[in-house]
Amino acid sequence: MAVEIEETMLVRVQAEDFSVDEEINRVRARSTRIGGIATFLGTVRDRSKGRDVRLLTFEHYEGMAQKKLREIRERALQDFDVIEVLVLHRYGAIEIGENVVLIVVGAEHRADAFRACEWCIDELKKITPIWKLEETPEGDVWVEEHP
């Protein structure tokens, strides 16, 4: 039961902002064997494909988005020599400079942590049903590609 609750915290889609320290601490708490923690934090840029951006709104497919993020965590734990993986994505309106997505990977050795962390964010962007509406001076556009 405890493990289930923990796993729920390790894969989340939420509207609220998050603290990187708190999320890193969830990963760190899993094992004293962890010596390296690689993190990727995606934030909102003020430019996208040459357009100015004022605000982003993320929409997700509730249920399927979480399912795909769980798959990513499980595949990373299976395919890389890492100890714990946390995957977190926000939805709703997010302003310039604010947090959108976070991957945290703890491993004994740093090279494994980096490999897995980069794989997770690449895979997340490929398979997770999340969409992004950009508010620009020329109007609002749904975009396919993340900057």
Partner: protein, 100 residues
């Protein structure tokens, strides 16, 4: 009847409806659903035909011969924010403008 969840620019193309309800015979395939969409929502049907919008069945990407029950959870998935599925090559699709 079959309920179909809509997201992003597909929802915009359907006048912000979150879900479509279509007449659909239990046990038909995804390729049959594409024909229904083309008849009733030509703009959306065309995007599905070109694989720019994918169809998921029970939260997994479907194939043309995936069988659909009317109890299944079906959704139309425009290209994801993070990039594109294998079926979509990058940058081919124009962004859909939203009028507010």
């Amino acid at each position: 009847m079959l309920s179909i969840k809509l997201f992003g620019m597909v929802k915009t193309l359907a006048q912000q409806q979150k879900e479509l309800s279509l007449e659909f015979v239990d046990g038909q395939k995804v390729e049959d659903l594409v024909e229904v969409l083309r008849a009733q929502y030509p703009e959306i049907g065309e995007l599905v035909l070109k694989k720019k919008v994918l169809i998921s069945v029970n939260q997994e990407i479907s194939h043309p011969d995936t069988v659909i029950s009317t109890a299944d959870e079906v959704a139309l998935l425009p290209p994801f924010a993070g990039g594109s599925l294998e079926a979509n090559s990058k940058g081919k699709m124009k962004n859909a403008k939203v009028s507010r």
